[in-house]
């Protein structure tokens, strides 16, 4: 698929730089998606979406000017380029001739979800619904959703770059509500990947059973205790914690504004030597994976913490230029209506040496956070907060009672430094990360991780 031809791209870049500027870029995109849900055992909300459009930016010194248009019509693209150029009044800058595009290293998609009949997707959802309801008489509500999306992007810039990517993602989610007398609990589970419909081969309905199990388990939960304690964070979803408390602080825009507690700490020890972590946009099939980022830079694997030392920030082009370094392939945008900003792809703590069971058995009294509803961090202060969707007490080295309503709060640097065990188990999970009003698919992952001394917020004081 060709979104725009080279000739038009060249004309747009020339027009954008016709009154000066250091750099111009044309980002074109076509996206198609389909989603469907099941609720009250009824398949509903089938929805198709289709969008095409382009974003054009001109960087002049430290100022970025950006325009975007719906559609890829030549007159609209040239008109947007003219709007950008009109703000400047210098000699034209001549863009370099576009080099031949290298064939993109695309993620292999076995079954294009767009080619699968929608009825088949409805069947998958019915399977989830049945499995959730079959998990026990206390399951009172079950719902599930399916979504697929395909983003085809092409990037052209005045340095002669042309690159493209074709990203297909499929995701399932299941939510279960369980009731016992007056108590209500919910459970949630997802399955997603930068893959085709083959993701759902096997037994996708297992996630409905897992969601049901969480909700049922929580029915017997006590209110979470409030106070400072040792926390063991589970594998997979637990990686959200690292994403929030460290990943965001490594994004170069926050660092350059001094709005990150990791600013000025490159090369320093920020964690025990047992901790190594990566951002890796090339992990095959993972949710945050791509061939290129949204500026045309190939995605790559960047060590961010090596044996406890901070080794790299995450860069897009603009911030890399400011620091006199190269983009790490983290210039991502939610779509053609957004400017690229430094963002994580798949971020994870590499597997350690500790046995996950030992990590727990060494804790006399603590809290086991298995999965999170999500979280938030204030990069400037490093303060973070996480809602725990599944958590348990640890008593005498054993996982005992489930707890409800717990929150983990703390400070990034402190919490990172207090990680004293990293498990040898490992799992990746999917997430949606919000930043500056843009949502991006990201992968998070880790094995079991133990943090000494963290505040658990709860209702039991």
């Amino acid at each position: 698929l060709t979104l725009v031809d080279e000739g038009l791209a060249t004309r747009v870049l020339e027009r954008a730089l016709s009154r000066g500027g250091d750099f111009a870029e044309l980002f074109c995109e076509q996206r198609r998606g389909f989603s469907l849900s099941i609720d009250e055992s009824r398949v509903e909300r089938p929805q198709f979406g289709s969008e095409r459009g382009a974003g054009i930016r001109v960087i002049d010194g430290e100022v970025t000017r950006f325009a975007h248009v719906d559609g890829l019509a030549e007159e609209d693209l040239l008109g947007a380029a003219d709007v950008l150029a009109s703000a400047l009044a210098a000699e034209a800058t001549r863009p370099l001739a576009l080099r031949a595009a290298e064939p993109p290293r695309l993620q292999e998609i076995e079954v294009d979800p767009g080619s699968v009949p929608a009825e088949r997707k409805a069947e998958v959802l019915r399977g989830l619904d049945e499995r959730a309801r079959g998990a026990g008489p206390e399951v009172s509500q079950a719902s599930a959703s399916y979504s697929e999306g395909r983003r085809q992007v092409a990037v052209f810039n005045s340095e002669g770059l042309q690159a493209s990517d074709d990203r297909t993602r499929v995701r399932l989610g299941a939510q279960v509500v369980a009731r016992r007398n007056g108590t209500v609990e919910t459970g949630f589970e997802t399955l997603g990947a930068h893959r085709g419909f083959e993701l759902l081969d096997g037994d996708p309905a297992r996630i409905a059973e897992q969601a049901a199990r969480k909700a049922l388990e929580l029915l017997g939960a006590d209110p979470a205790p409030a106070g400072e304690t040792t926390v063991v964070v589970g594998g997979g979803f637990g990686g959200v914690l690292f994403h929030e408390m460290t990943g965001h602080g490594l994004e170069a825009d926050a660092v350059q504004k001094g709005a990150s507690v990791y600013a000025g700490k490159l090369g320093e020890r920020v964690a025990e030597p047992l901790l190594t972590a990566y951002d890796d946009g090339r992990m095959p099939g993972e949710w945050g994976t791509g061939a290129i980022d949204d500026e045309g830079t190939p995605c790559r694997k960047t060590p961010v913490i090596e044996e406890g030392r901070l080794t790299s920030y995450l860069y897009d082009r603009l911030r890399a230029r400011r620091d006199g370094t190269e983009s790490t392939g983290n210039g991502r945008r939610a779509g053609f209506r957004d400017l690229p900003i430094p963002r994580m792809t798949n971020t994870y703590i590499a597997p350690g040496e500790a046995d996950p069971e030992t990590i727990i058995s060494e804790v006399e009294r603590g809290f086991y956070a298995v999965s999170f509803g999500g979280g938030q961090v204030e990069p400037a202060t490093g303060d973070f907060v996480f809602g725990v969707s599944e958590g348990y007490l640890i008593e005498g080295g054993r996982v005992t009672r489930p707890c409800r309503g717990a929150t983990l709060i703390g400070n990034c640097l402190q919490a990172l430094a207090r990680i004293d065990a990293v498990g040898s188990d490992f799992e990746m999970k999917t997430g949606f990360c919000g930043k500056s009003g843009q949502t991006a698919p990201v992968g998070t992952g880790q094995g079991h991780v133990r943090i000494r001394g963290m505040t658990v917020g709860g209702t039991s004081v």
Binding site: F34, L36, R42, E44, R45, P46, Q47, F48, G49, S50, E51, R52, G53, E62, V63, T64, R65, F66, A67, H68, D70, G71, L84, A87, A118, S140, Q141, T186, A224, A226, G227, E228, G258, A259, V261, R337, L339, F372, G373, G374, G375, Q376, E378, A380, T381, D383, F384, V385, F386, G387, S389, G405, T407, I409, T455, G457, G458, T459, S460, V461
Partner: protein, 457 residues
């Protein structure tokens, strides 16, 4: 709906409806939008980025019997509309039958005349002036206190757009609206300690924004947080700032949407008419209040916006409905079908929530609290709040209340509870109201809660 400020969009919507019925839909509805927007980001007294954008699109709902499907696209040419319409019809074929599903009926009444939704100030103010405004916002924060060391970003955004609807049952109409807002995050530092503060302003035009007040709010808050410590875990009286109250009101409003209520996923299910809250808490949804940014003559499916009292005299008076949830229980739509944009089908949501102000100033609320905590910021709302169970546990920061007055800053703690318990514990709502864009669009005020669980050290 006689007025048509956007005839071209209305025509596009009309053609999309025709295309859908030609493609096999028994009934159809189309929602078309067109808008222009600007965004300025300023840092260190200089423009960091400037965005100018135009957008347009259409979303089509199609019904085949009692099956509903949706599709959207950005191409408003005849071919583009036909493609969207066919996709919507194709989607409808996948859905199961639902006896309550049908195109919304035309309302028997004309939508309200609402003045001032579009202010010419957005179109008339040159970009150079709004850049200056964003710079003034940043400067005001830096000038507010010596401790304010920088501003992460001062952002100004405005937007001017039209929306139009058409249905096969004869609903048609359009309206235009503008919005302008600015916000920033200021950073105050002392030694190695950094604290942040947020300031914002919203309106219909850049002329509505007080750059100095917006900047100073962020600076004041950041500086006030310096030296913050973690409070002790305890149950104590809490005063919520008007921003935090707004987030809380948004949580209440969400749980009052009939969709989740009907599906048994709201703590308010089966509680209509019952006593669920303190008498101090009086709340309404009002889609016609000229001050609210969600105000419009009609909702996302053409039903006139209106005012719906939700909580008064401690009782739960109503749930919010769109045409689907209304039909499901033989009620009337309250005009609360909302659309984030043409990219999403209408769904029940609050419009503007209006909290009835009380009589006490903030000072008096603090005096009433005696010993407790004043909450100025909450974090992690999307993860710490469970709308099904009504339980919440969110990160917070603020100030201690000692002897009825503000004392030292506090941070890194949580507040937790359950929605109904907290509603019952509201002791008073303050007199000073403000439109806050958190939790939707909320006319908010500070609020005293008799007792909440604080999780700290």
């Amino acid at each position: 709906m006689s007025r048509s400020p956007a005839p071209e969009l209305e025509q596009a919507a009309g053609r999309a409806v025709e295309a859908a019925t030609s493609a096999g839909a028994a009934e159809a509805e189309a929602w078309a939008e067109g808008s222009r927007s600007r965004e300025v980001r300023v840092h260190g007294g200089a423009v960091e980025s400037l965005t100018e954008a135009s957008g347009r699109g259409v979303g089509v709902r199609a019904w085949i019997g009692t099956r509903t499907g949706y599709a959207y696209g950005t191409d408003l040419s005849d071919a583009g509309l036909a493609e969207v319409a066919e996709a919507a019809v194709g989607a409808a074929r996948v859905a199961d039958e639902d006896e309550s599903a049908a195109a919304p009926d035309p309302a028997g009444e004309e939508p309200p005349e609402i003045e001032g939704l579009r202010d010419s100030g957005v179109a008339e103010t040159p970009t150079a002036e709004v850049i200056e405004l964003a710079k003034r916002v940043e400067r005001a924060a830096l000038d507010s206190h010596d401790a304010v060391s920088s501003v992460e970003e001062a952002v100004y955004v405005d937007e001017d757009g039209d929306a139009a609807i058409a249905t096969s049952r004869g609903v048609s109409g359009s309206f235009g609206a503008s919005a302008a807002y600015s916000f920033l995050q200021a950073m105050a530092s002392r030694g190695s300690e950094v604290q942040t503060g947020l300031g914002f302003g919203v309106g219909r035009s850049p002329r509505d924004l007080d750059a100095e007040a917006i900047g100073a709010e962020a600076g004041d808050q950041a500086a006030a947080m310096l030296g913050a410590t973690k409070p002790e875990s305890r149950n104590c009286p809490v005063v919520l700032s008007e921003r935090v109250t707004a987030s809380f009101a948004g949580f209440i409003g969400g749980a009052l949407c009939a969709d989740d209520v009907q599906r048994g996923r709201s703590p308010f299910a089966d509680r209509l008419g019952e006593e669920v809250a303190s008498r101090a808490l009086v709340l309404a949804d009002d889609g016609t209040d000229p001050g609210g940014l969600a105000t419009a003559p009609f909702d996302g499916e053409g039903t006139p916006r209106g005012r719906t009292p939700l909580l008064a005299d401690g009782r739960l008076l109503a749930f919010l409905h769109d045409s689907y949830t209304a039909r499901r229980e033989g009620a009337r739509s309250t005009g609360n079908a909302s659309r984030a944009s043409y990219r999403s089908p209408p769904a029940v949501s609050t419009s503007n929530l209006v909290l009835e102000p009380g009589e006490l100033s903030l000072e008096r609320l603090l005096a009433e609290a005696g010993e407790g905590v004043y909450i100025t910021e909450v974090a992690g709302l999307h993860s710490g709040v469970n709308p099904v169970t009504g339980r919440y546990s969110v990160g917070a920061s603020g100030r201690a209340i000692r002897a009825g007055a503000l004392a030292e800053p506090l941070r890194e703690f949580t507040i937790a509870g359950d929605l109904l318990g907290t509603l019952a514990a509201v002791k008073a709502v303050g007199a000073q109201t403000r439109w806050v864009p958190f939790g939707g669009s909320v006319s908010s005020a500070p609020m005293l809660v008799q007792e909440l669980a604080i999780g700290g050290s």
